[in-house]
Amino acid sequence: MQLDELINLAISLLTTVSILVIISIGLAVIFGMMGVINLAHGEFLMLGAFFTLSGHRAGLNIWVAMVVAALGVGVVGLVVERLLIQFLYGRLAATMLATWGLSLILVQAVVLIYGPATQGIPTPLGSTRVGDYSVSQYNMVLIAVAVALLGLVYVVFTRTRYGTTARAATQLPTMAAAVGINAKVTNMFTFAFGAVLAGAAGALLAPVAGVVPGMGQAYVGRAFMTVVVGGPGVLTGTASSATLLGTVDSVVSNATTSFLGVAALLVVAIVLLRVLPTGISGRTGRQL
């Protein structure tokens, strides 16, 4: 194998892993910190893409548009938490059903506003030559951003006032209340933060994927798989499971076909869950 081919493969693998991290980190935060399964995660992602599209069309710089879009989805998340989720904590089935209803509404609302057609934003940056291969520079951005998002989650949950209180409230809710922490407020912020991350995922994917109202469905399956395999640890779980699943997918896809890649990913996920029923991070009991 030539060096350029090797480098190209490595970048491709890292890109796949990074995309998994990006699409699942928001879901992982909401699930890991609150135990809420957000079936509207895909639609938050989709909103992020559409907000980026709007921002871009309004003349914003593409990167600025992405940041604004992610924050915009955060606001949506905040509203959703206040209007819906806060009444359903501890009711697993109810949250799943309510967020699913929400996803129906969001998709159709976007259809009514933006129309059904696939839209798009040109991919920023160009390509770099690596020997015989050319590599999209945007893929490099995706890899960097995935690392940055993991870092952001770490910093938010360990270095900020909100993050510390949120972790305390997750670990021992009663004791947290006894030191004055209002779990309602931290939950609200956690949900909004998860929504920001989902929105960021949509924003980042907008230039490489088709921006369509139904785009969330394309990602949500893999995001769930990543979170299930990762288990409750937001960082350790997501990072390890994205690495594992992404590597399996990427290696098998490159060696054979995309179909076998997906198939291998699923087989690995199911076998792993039999061995580790609470996911990779389930055993270590770590929260991040």
């Binding site: 796949t16 995309i19 490489v208 109202p213 490159n254």
Partner: protein, 419 residues
């Protein structure tokens, strides 16, 4: 339905009964309206359409629904059918294939439509066909597809590989190079079309170096881009479908591959991909009976009518829209010629070779195969949300379907032939 409305029991002893009562009441209400209208008399003729106007497939469905409304309007303004107006009953299947069975049944049995048109993916067509056959309701499938359907009750007005790929692949081999790399949506359309590509490539002296099938919901083409760079084909044949697959063209351009290889595609444009991608799509070549840019009198009229109805900023009128338009007009002509709505009479008339001058040129039904003979144009995306029409071949027959399917002499055939 009044038989169902029972007086509520005076005393409900059990909770269950009150629930049951509520349910029965609801059922009774649901039965209230819209019993079969029948097709006798001088009133409007009910006709049915089922398309995906919501959900992921509406990137195709919206234009097709618009074309349906416009076609009905056009036919009615020109005197209707048999001197009667058409009344459209339309259903939105919401990109959920399970709904096709349900709505096809409602349209055929409840609304008793004279003809049922619709279905976008082959899956939806396969859901409609048995229902339409059972209720003896004539069915038109108006969308480009993988070909080979042979069924007395079904007419296919869309372009098939033996027209579309038979033109596109030799063009690609001749103009761009002999090595073809096929990327196809991993479902029936992609699988079957891929084998057509292989056949036509060999006939034209080229070869398919590799075929890769991508799940419909996938939008990560990283490994495909890598394989392409390793294989270095001259031409990439894209048989991709749906909103997610648009990502391929973008990732292709972003990796700089558009500098070294050409993309040809029989699906590019049906979902307005050239509008979305614009610059990134320049040079992608397709083949369709209809491009908005075709210059002809019927097309000018068609576009006038379209833009009057839907506004001048309508992004692009797709081949699918034109196909729907053709389907309705072919049926109307056949009914008028037969002088009756009777299914068998209409089928007989359609099989006799009904013809219609549509926006894409003359479209003639091929009786034995239930497909159409039509023009095929080759066009190249021009970076301005449209195509440049490079050449047109007239009256291309559905060669494969003609070869395998003869419903005039074998009316009981009901299957989909594969290459």
């Amino acid at each position: 339905m009044t038989t169902l409305v029972k007086p509520a029991p005076r005393r409900m002893r059990r909770r269950a009964y009150s629930g049951l009562g509520a349910t029965l009441l609801l059922l009774a209400t649901a039965c209230g309206g819209g019993d079969g209208a029948g097709d006798d008399g001088d009133g409007p003729i009910k006709v049915g359409s089922i398309l995906d106007e919501t959900g992921p497939l509406n990137i195709y469905g919206t234009a097709m629904a618009d074309a349906t409304d416009l076609a009905i309007k056009d036919i009615n303004e020109n005197g209707g059918v048999l001197g009667r107006q058409l009344e459209l009953v339309s259903y939105d299947a919401q990109s959920d294939n399970a709904k096709y069975t349900q709505y096809a049944n409602q349209a055929a049995q409840r609304d008793q439509v004279a003809v049922l048109m619709g279905g976008i993916t082959s899956a939806s067509r396969e859901a409609i066909r048995p229902v339409a056959a059972r209720s003896e309701t004539l069915y038109f499938y108006n969308e480009q597809y993988e070909g080979g359907v042979c069924d007395k009750n079904t007419f296919n007005t869309g372009v098939v590989p033996s027209q579309q790929l038979a033109a596109l692949i030799p063009y690609a081999v001749e103009n761009f190079g002999k090595n073809l790399y096929v990327i196809a949506a991993d479902y029936n359309y992609g699988q079957i079309s891929a084998s057509w590509v292989e056949k036509y490539a060999e006939e034209a002296g080229g070869s398919v170096v590799e075929s890769e099938f991508i799940p419909l919901e996938s939008s990560d083409f990283g490994s495909v881009i890598n394989s392409l760079q390793a294989a270095k084909p001259d031409v990439v044949v894209s048989l991709l479908v749906g909103g997610n697959h648009i990502a391929f063209y973008r990732q292709f351009a972003s990796a700089g591959l558009d500098q070294s290889m050409k993309i040809v595609s029989p699906t590019f444009g049906l979902g307005n991909e050239q509008v979305v991608l614009s610059d990134e799509a320049v040079g992608i070549t397709g083949a369709f009976p209809y491009f908005q840019e075709i210059e002809s009198e019927p097309n000018t009229q068609f576009l006038d009518m379209w833009h009057t109805e839907y506004g001048d900023d309508y992004p692009y009128v797709t081949d699918s829209a034109a196909t729907v338009w053709n389907g309705w007009h072919l049926w109307a002509e056949a009914v008028n010629a037969a002088g009756s709505l009777d299914r068998d009479a209409v089928i007989e008339e359609l099989e006799s070779g009904v013809s219609f001058d549509g926006p894409s040129g003359t479209v003639t039904l091929d009786g034995p195969s239930h497909h159409v003979v039509q023009n095929i144009a080759i066009g190249e995306a021009n970076g301005q949300k449209g195509f440049e029409v490079l050449s047109t071949e007239e009256s291309v027959p559905p060669a494969f379907e003609q070869e395998v399917c003869d419903l005039v002499s074998e009316p009981d055939t009901n299957e989909q032939f594969l290459p």
